[in-house]
């Protein structure tokens, strides 16, 4: 007992030492003779938190060894210090980054401008690779200024081809979303493509067929952190809020965006968007939702720098109320994702509630009053959050409510579905999929998603600034092996940064690279790299 207690307290010291050791690794400098390439520092996730990504690092180390490269794996705890390393200090050669599948990431903005524009290479930006290319920048800017989807797609395809050719990000696998529901208790859900139950819309349509009318949603997390949209910073927290809050735009089950709380959306010019609201919108406390609430919401989120919405609200200049059901958004510059991303993400808040709150950043938001299909009922900390059916909604849900139950472990949530104590399981381990498929009361749902398991290479460092070197690394990745071994085959091989599941935007011409070590070595040879007596890869001679 004593030993265990002491070990826990020593962990911080051990981690500090490990970090110190890591930062002391000496990197070889420029020299006349071809220098062997220094060991690659590959950052990944800890085995305890994300065994799949941890395992992948070893597969990559093994694979790149065949090119004469040595890989030093560094497993870091999420969120810290992992996030600090990739977002702030940028001290890595390669990092395994898992992008979860999300609705907000369907608009090409996320995987293009957001991830590769030179302005996003600053601290905190998602341009992990540090790409700064003038031609690419021009394309990235052009796609966000193009409101016509067909013309925008042409530019987005060009961008995807550039990224695929230059290989700063090597997508390994697009993992399928595998979920399950209890078909003995509920039936006929409309499962949205790409996200499945990660999109609350699936909960709107589940029909009760037995005595249980409230959907029990088993969650492996141990609690929500907050239900205040201004404080929330992760999609896993935010998505629960969309049960209770409407947005102006929603993605349909086939992933095409369309008006939701709006009846009409028109771009009056490249920088003016006019939205007409439905006239049957009502908050859960009975007050009508009007254009004033819409303006108030956007102003409030901007004023308090709400972290989750910060990026998508940045291009917004001002909001003007034209009539009780009409608002006009003025943008700082043409910004096509405004309709498909910003309006689809922003939850509409009641002005009459929030204007009375002194410090919105310290407000618990209990009860959370929105205008969505479910209304907030209670939150027992560390146990459950309950939402009830809102009969006055313009599209009232079929079930009486949703009960989000926190288990804190994946095993706990899984056991609850097995024992019929739960109705929806939104995340599971791959061996659990087989077990659940055998059960009579369980329906397993599998959708191809836009989740992307990716190796991000740091182009700020040598030799990772060389596209030839990066492409060679990509050819050496055994994608099929990773998909089969780490994901039990539940996914597709990675190619373009925009996953094929995102049918509207993915470039179909791009196919996953074959696993070909010979070709990788050939590319390296042509680019001037060599091998020393010990078989280690050396930098091109100058």
């Amino acid at each position: 007992m004593t030993m265990r207690w002491r070990a826990v307290r020593l962990v911080p010291f051990a981690m500090a030492l490990a970090l110190l050791a890591g930062s002391l690794t000496v990197r070889s400098g420029q020299a006349a003779d071809p220098q062997p390439i220094a060991p690659i520092n590959l950052v990944t996730w800890t085995k305890a938190q994300y065994p799949v990504q941890y395992e992948e690092a070893s597969v990559l180390a093994e694979a790149w060894k065949k090119l004469g490269l040595e890989v030093k794996i560094e497993a870091l705890n999420f969120p810290n210090p992992l996030l600090e390393r990739v977002f702030k200090t940028r001290e890595f050669d390669g990092a395994i980054v898992y992008f979860t599948g999300q609705l907000e990431r369907l608009d090409p903005e996320f995987y293009t401008y957001n991830a590769f524009h030179s302005s996003r290479a600053v601290e905190g930006g998602w341009n992990f690779s540090g790409i700064a290319n003038k031609d690419l920048d021009r394309l990235l800017e052009a796609q966000r200024a193009e409101y016509d989807p067909a013309k925008r797609k042409v530019i987005v395809d060009q961008i995807q081809e550039w990224i695929f050719r230059e290989s700063p990000w090597l997508v390994m696998v697009n993992q399928d979303e595998v979920q399950a529901y209890n078909k003995a208790n509920f039936s006929d859900p409309v499962i949205p493509k790409v996200t499945g139950f990660n999109d609350p819309q699936a909960f709107f349509t589940l029909k009760p067929r037995g005595a249980r009318k409230v959907i029990r949603w088993a969650s492996p997390i141990s609690d929500l952190k907050t239900i205040n949209p201004i404080l929330a910073s992760e999609s896993s927290q935010i998505r629960v809020l969309y049960l209770a809050y409407d947005t102006l735009v929603k993605y349909g089950p086939d992933t095409t965006p369309g008006p939701w709380a709006a009846s009409e959306i028109r771009a009056l010019g490249p920088t003016v968007v006019e939205v007409t609201l439905r006239n049957d919108l009502k908050f859960h406390d009975g007050v009508k939702l009007t254009a004033d609430d819409v303006k108030f919401t956007f102003d409030l989120l901007i004023k308090h720098n709400a972290p989750y919405f910060k990026t998508v609200l940045e291009p917004l200049e001002s909001v003007e109320v034209v009539s009780p059901t009409k608002v006009r958004f003025k943008l700082k510059r043409p910004y096509a994702p405004f309709i498909t991303q910003t309006l689809a993400m922003t939850p509409l808040l009641p002005k009459h509630v929030w204007e009375k709150i002194d410090k919105p950043t310290e407000y618990e938001n209990i009860p959370a009053i929105g205008s969505g299909p479910f209304k907030f009922d209670h939150w027992k900390k560390g146990q459950e959050v309950k939402f009830s059916r809102f009969a006055d909604h313009f599209r009232p849900p079929a079930a009486d409510g949703v009960l989000l139950v926190f288990f804190g472990t994946r095993e706990g949530a899984y056991t609850a579905l097995v024992k019929q104590e739960a109705d929806v399981l939104d995340r599971m381990l791959s061996h659990q999929v087989d077990e659940l498929s055998k059960l009579e009361h369980v329906q397993v749902v599998r959708v191809a998603s836009n989740a992307a398991d990716t190796v991000v290479l740091n182009a700020r460092r040598k030799p990772f600034d060389d596209p030839q070197f990066r492409t060679a690394l990509s050819y050496a990745i055994p994608r099929k092996q990773i998909l089969d071994e780490s994901y039990n085959g539940l996914g597709t091989l990675g190619g373009s940064v925009i996953a094929p599941a995102n049918e509207a935007w993915s470039d179909r011409k791009i196919k996953p690279l074959e696993h070909n070590v010979e070709k990788a070595r050939e590319i390296l040879k042509k680019a001037g790299y060599g091998w020393d007596g010990n078989g280690r890869l050396t930098m091109p001679a100058r």
Partner: protein
């Protein structure tokens, strides 16, 4: 109360206060030694440096480290534990909610552990060398060496999943309407949920007092006054429980204060496995999220509880054993 007791008592309280102060300092230092910038977890990393600066300011992370330390101590003395990085609510509110849930699990578990341990230890000592003694002592050794989370998982798979006798986790059936203290904890539903984690903890933590009691009893049973008791013609039960048992309790009192600390550490594991919404699980989440105010406060709370337990045990010694003198 004699003067001796008062002086001793004051000394012990001062020592306890000094211990808590050192622990508070250690906590402060340790949490700041953890790698990683806490502002990065408070915020989405996709934030501009200005917003990060604003947040640093909001939580006082922009101040010099010594000033942060002084504020931390001053606030702590006034009972202000700060505001959670992630949840935007005062830490004291948060701790209150979770602490109660932990206490309702740990207290009955500890009482049961000691009841089993003391009675069981006394009985096997009396029947020393019998097959019952061997079996019980071996079982106690095995249970004490098995990790508690493993024991918990075995219990869940047998009693909850296979036999379906008890729920596999949680404190109440999901969906129960929120209610007051009595309506929450004095229900059959709560007891059903309490049963498995409580029994696991009682078995696991009962082994130690059982072994201590057995050893202590064996020693006492060899003493002259036991022979005298038997010579007086007292019944064997009376000899065991009244005379030998009472005299053997002193080491048990020591173990209470020690075991308290272990139980707190164990609650982290038990609560996680049983999805129990207690302090242990809150701690785990706070540490992984780098939610310093919550983690610091919960560790400190546990430290204070352990120090207070020790203090209480020291003071109670005198009452249990009249031979102890305070000078």
């Amino acid at each position: 109360m004699s003067r001796g007791i008062r002086v001793y008592f004051l000394k012990r309280v001062a020592l306890a206060a000094a211990t808590v102060f050192c622990l508070a300092t250690l906590m402060f230092v340790l949490f700041r030694m953890l790698p990683g910038d806490p502002t990065l977890t408070v915020l989405s990393p996709a934030l501009s440096p200005e917003v990060q600066a604003e947040l640093r300011q909001r939580f006082g992370l922009d101040r010099p480290i010594l000033e942060q330390y002084a504020r931390y101590l001053a606030n702590m003395l006034r009972g202000r534990l700060g505001v959670s990085f992630h949840r935007g609510v005062p830490v004291s509110t948060l701790l209150g909610q979770y602490l109660l849930n932990t206490v309702v699990l740990m207290l009955p578990a500890l009482v049961l552990a000691y009841a089993l341990g003391i009675v069981g230890g006394a009985l096997v000592a009396w029947r020393r060398g019998s097959w019952a003694d061997t079996a019980t002592t071996t079982a106690a050794m095995v249970f004490r060496s098995a990790p508690i989370f493993w024991l918990s998982i075995i219990f869940i798979s047998v009693f909850a999943v296979r036999l379906g006798l008890f729920p596999s986790g949680h404190m109440l059936t999901p969906g129960t309407e929120p209610a007051g203290f009595f309506a929450t904890f004095f229900t059959v539903d709560f007891l059903r949920h309490l049963m498995l984690p409580m029994v696991v903890m009682a078995i696991y933590y009962g082994c130690y007092p059982l072994l201590v009691m057995r050893t202590s009893m064996l020693e006492v049973l060899g003493e002259d006054f036991i022979d005298l008791c038997r010579a007086k013609g007292l019944s064997e039960r009376r000899v065991i429980f009244r005379h030998a048992g009472r005299a053997s309790l002193l080491p048990i009192a020591t173990s209470v204060s020690l075991l308290g600390a272990y139980v707190v550490a164990g609650s982290v594991l038990v609560e996680t496995v049983f999805s129990w919404p207690g302090l242990g699980r809150l701690m785990v989440q706070a540490v992984t999220d780098s939610d310093y105010p919550v983690a610091q406060a919960s560790f400190l709370l546990i430290a204070v509880l352990v120090v207070a337990g020790n203090l209480l045990a020291d003071v109670l010694y005198g009452l249990l054993d009249p031979r102890i003198r305070y000078q």
